[in-house]
Symmetry: C2
């Protein structure tokens, strides 16, 4: 009862099913909602490039801008490619659906598994990057980063369990504040360079004196792979077309183009600035924070930028709290994950998916100590697996349907598939030993799990199907009341047994023939006419004689159904249960998997 | 299944009830059985006196012999006093029964609680003293004493769960070997003094240079109190009169006199020898071991004495494994402890009492790190509480009955009660801060528990009694089948419901009216003629509409009984349970304490 009150306080009152309608979004609001994941990655993507290059010494940092340009090109290709997907799926479709529809079950499940991992990592990475923005501004909080992450995660989980009706308005402010503040940062940064202001006075990079690694091609590719985390979340708009105001597909494609433009501008802009300002990555302060501090000193503007960055990152995590449960719902509907994921809670949200996501993300944050940089190698693999499968599926679709202009569209998606496929190989190779192997191992494990679960559900459906069912055999039914004594608590059980069968009989396990005699005397008066049989138990066991009796009854007829009625008096207080032999529990446990036996408690409630 | 095989291997096959007969013992065998507890205490009682006196410096050790003499006098009084008890209770009676019969319930429960504590401490003290005899002989084992104690305890527990048919023979050897070896020790020790042999060359006590405490009266009384542990177990023969060959009472009284004589001789003998040989107590080696080593060097005789001492101490612990479960049985029969303690396991022993005793004793040994000396202050309080109550009860009995010679017998028991009462006050005072307070606090707590349990059992008996019962009200019974779909797993439940009531109806919780339509169509063909009612659930809750429906049904008639039949398909493997909504469990949980509602599962077993 008290738990229920607590749940209502935290989660709110139930919401009726008919309120389950989609809110339709204008383009600016849709941008705010769907872009938070993609845009927020500019908060850490540049830093990941720098972190790899700096291993080869400060001279290697000169490669930052070319690598940034290459990643920007990949972003443009993927955005353009997804615009084709929207044309084909005007109702919207996740990579899982696109891959399943056009390539088949196994590629679909691969994309599904990759996406589940991707969503989980989005939460872990975004929350820890958001907390990193805070601890960069307030270094005193750095030792408490894991706790801060877990608190933020708990807040997100609770908010999502409540369900967010007003999500549009909620998202618009932080997303546009972030866009505004990055525009401000880039504008002020470049202005300072042009005017030769104080902030542009480039200080030499303060590298720790260590032996630098050689600048191999492998290292350059690794830097490229690290920066590709900028692409995470690009697929979100294609997935959510249905949420746009009509004409949905057109509005979604325009919004996707806006988002791609902003993303490339921001990512490349920050990369160039970081290169000019010669920012060197440090564990305790993010690159964006260093840039903002150089440009705005410790002014309120600096703190505003950090605050807004944290907000957008938390909101990016929030999008996964919608995506993960929704994908789980699709997988559950198709019978690939436990059915519980398809159940909407009383606030109309998929509560089970939300809770699982939060728990796994929390585990990741704790294991990786809230360090964004350590989580990144696991991150991009899943994203690029689903990109590649989804684009390849689109090629197959265009080629298969041969609609007008199919070769052009197939070409665009083909370039997309090829590009993302190559990037996937680069990421998997260069990040393998840094953590990508975990995801590469995990995906087949997930697929195996999906298939086992699916086989079970199909087998159950087959066994339960009424198709070709000849009807049940005639029922043979015996009712037994198991008694240990005769008192007021037993009478309702006798009465009940008589009411459900005219041939009910009572069974008594005899340990002492003298007690049997006393019982039989009482039975004359109070036995309600139910015949009493005493089964001798020389070894004082309750179960052995009972089971032997049942076996003898069922021996004659396999389909003989037996109901065992157990009189059970229920104490008024929990501790009083400890003062009574747990006979009923024992019998129920022993008969749990005994076929053809039904155990029915007839309770007699004690008063105090 | 495998657990059952393991249990049979460890504990043996079940024993039929008719084998529950008492083995009748001759006086020598009875002495061996009942004396092990009392006699074994000479292995540590003298040492406890020395340990206190040595605090006041080596000169204080001169008081050892007078204190030993005073304790010997107390032993003689208590033994003589218990001989009167045997006269009055020729069937034998524990202090609990004697106090309860003659002084009333509360003193009886006080004695009962004190004895339960006493028995538990006997196990803990005897096992750790037995292990101390081993580690004295083999000092390398000293660091492993706690593990050794726990292993010995586990062996005792297992042996007692098997039940010991051959206990007489088992006890005779070690008891007489112990008596023989102490006779040998005392004989050789005193002979050496008389002949001026090498062993009698008294070395000056090697005391650690520390500030000695002043030799106050309090310290002397504390030394006396410590030595009184020699009396533990003296009551055993009076408790077990029924086990003797007839004439039981006469044989028991003779055996008690023998035991008293041996006990006083051994205890006083060792005390005097320790004093003459100026043995100084050390934590790593017992006083008896030091004496034996001085007299016999490291000869085989020395090791024999240590080995036999260990054996008798383990056997002393074993007597509590009979006493504690028996007393628990009496308390359970009278309804003062949970009834489970009155249940004989399949080897005819009170298994629950044995297991509880072993667990608490093991806990004590671990907490006190297997150190006999730390456990002793807790020990004697309980023993002397039950001595005093039992002797006082006897006085009351003699005075009340006024049989021939009553004043003489009352006088003897009066002296016994007075002596043990005074000793009790001395022990409680001088040992209070060393641990006796634990027992003094624990006994009222135990009594409170006894009374609460008793009140509950009496209240249950009152509520269940058929006395003045007018018979049950006529039964109004409705059968509902709760369905979520219609498939092969549901058919047996429908069939069952029809068989137990011609008016059974099916209930469906509707979340989606389209699904209801599909179900109703199927129902036409396969519903077995059971009418189907759909309850709308706008909030998707299964429970809320169901509970509302039940409440409405029962609203009309409080005694309206409702059976809810739940079709439940049972997966073949445990992990498959996780893949299904635990609806049945949820409903059973919600209705567990709902009056007048019976939940019946009709299982449908899936094949694989």
């Amino acid at each position: 009862m008290h738990l229920r009150v607590l749940k209502r306080l935290l989660v709110g009152s139930p919401i009726p099913s008919e309120q389950a309608q989609q809110e339709r979004l204008s383009k600016p609001v849709a941008l705010a909602i769907f872009a938070s994941d993609a845009l927020s990655s500019v908060a850490y993507a540049t830093e990941e490039i720098l972190r790899v290059l700096v291993l080869a010494g400060s001279a290697a940092l000169a490669l930052t801008v070319p690598i940034g340009a290459a990643i920007s090109l990949v972003i443009a290709i993927v955005v353009y490619s997804y615009r084709q997907t929207i044309l084909a799926y005007p109702q919207g479709a996740s990579d899982f659906i696109v891959a399943k529809d056009n390539l088949g079950r196994l590629p679909g499940l691969t994309a599904g598994g990759a996406l589940l991992i991707d969503y989980t990592l989005t939460v872990a990475v975004s929350v820890s990057a958001g907390v990193a923005a805070v601890t960069s501004a307030v270094p005193a909080l750095f030792p408490y980063r894991v706790i801060l992450c877990v608190v933020a995660l708990a807040g997100l989980t609770l908010g999502n369990l409540r369900g967010t009706r007003e999500s549009g308005k909620l998202f618009a402010f932080p997303s546009y504040a972030f866009i505004g503040s990055i525009v401000l940062l880039l504008g002020a940064g470049f202005l300072s360079i042009v005017t030769g202001g104080s902030a542009a006075r480039i200080s030499p990079p303060a590298l720790d004196g260590g032996v630098a690694a050689p600048l191999t091609l492998f290292l350059i590719l690794r830097a490229f792979a690290s920066g590709c985390t900028a692409l995470t979340g690009v697929e979100a708009i294609a997935d959510g077309v249905i949420a746009f105001k009509p004409p949905e597909a057109r509005n979604a494609r325009i919004t996707l183009a806006w988002m791609g433009t902003i993303l490339v501008t921001f990512f490349f802009g920050i990369t160039v600035l970081a290169s000019i300002y010669a920012v060197v990555p440090r564990p305790e302060e993010t690159v964006v924070s260093q840039l903002a501090r150089r440009i705005f000193d410790d002014s309120p503007t600096y703190y505003l930028i950090q605050g807004v960055t944290t907000l957008i990152l938390i909101l990016a995590a929030n999008t996964s709290f919608a995506d993960f449960p929704r994908l789980s719902f699709f997988l559950a509907r198709d019978g690939f994950v436990p059915r519980q994921f398809a159940h909407r809670g009383d606030r109309l949200v998929f509560s089970n998916g939300i809770v699982i996501l939060a728990l796994v993300a929390a585990l990741l944050i704790v294991i990786f100590e809230g360090d964004t940089h350590s989580l990144i190698p696991l991150y991009a693999v899943g994203v690029f697996i689903s990109f590649t499968l989804s684009q390849a599926a689109m090629v197959r679709r265009w080629v298969g349907r041969q609609e007008a202009g199919w070769w052009w569209r197939a070409g665009i998606n083909g370039v997309g598939a090829l590009t993302t496929g190559v990037v996937l190989v680069v990421i998997a190779t260069t990040k393998f030993s840094h953590g990508a192997w975990i995801v590469i191992v995990l995906i087949p494990v997930l697929i195996g799990g999906f298939l086992i679960v699916n086989r079970h559900y199909r087998e159950v459906a087959r066994q339960l199907s009424l198709e070709g069912y000849g009807g049940p055999p005639p029922l043979k039914h015996t009712v037994l009341v198991l008694v240990g004594d005769l008192h007021r608590g037993v009478i309702p059980a006798l009465q009940y047994a008589k009411s459900i069968s005219p041939d009910a009989q009572a069974i008594y396990i005899e340990q002492d023939s003298e007690k049997t005699r006393v019982l039989q005397e009482k039975w004359q008066k109070w036995g309600l006419g139910v015949p009493l049989t005493a089964l001798p138990s020389p070894y004082r066991s309750l179960l052995v004689p009972l089971l032997r009796f049942l076996r003898r009854l069922q021996h004659k007829d396999e389909h003989h159904l037996i109901t065992i009625v157990l009189p059970e008096f229920v104490p008024a207080r929990w501790w009083q249960h400890l003062l009574h032999n747990q006979t009923a529990l024992l019998i129920k446990g022993a008969l749990l998997f005994w076929k053809g036996v039904i155990v029915t408690d007839v309770p007699y409630h004690l008063k105090h």
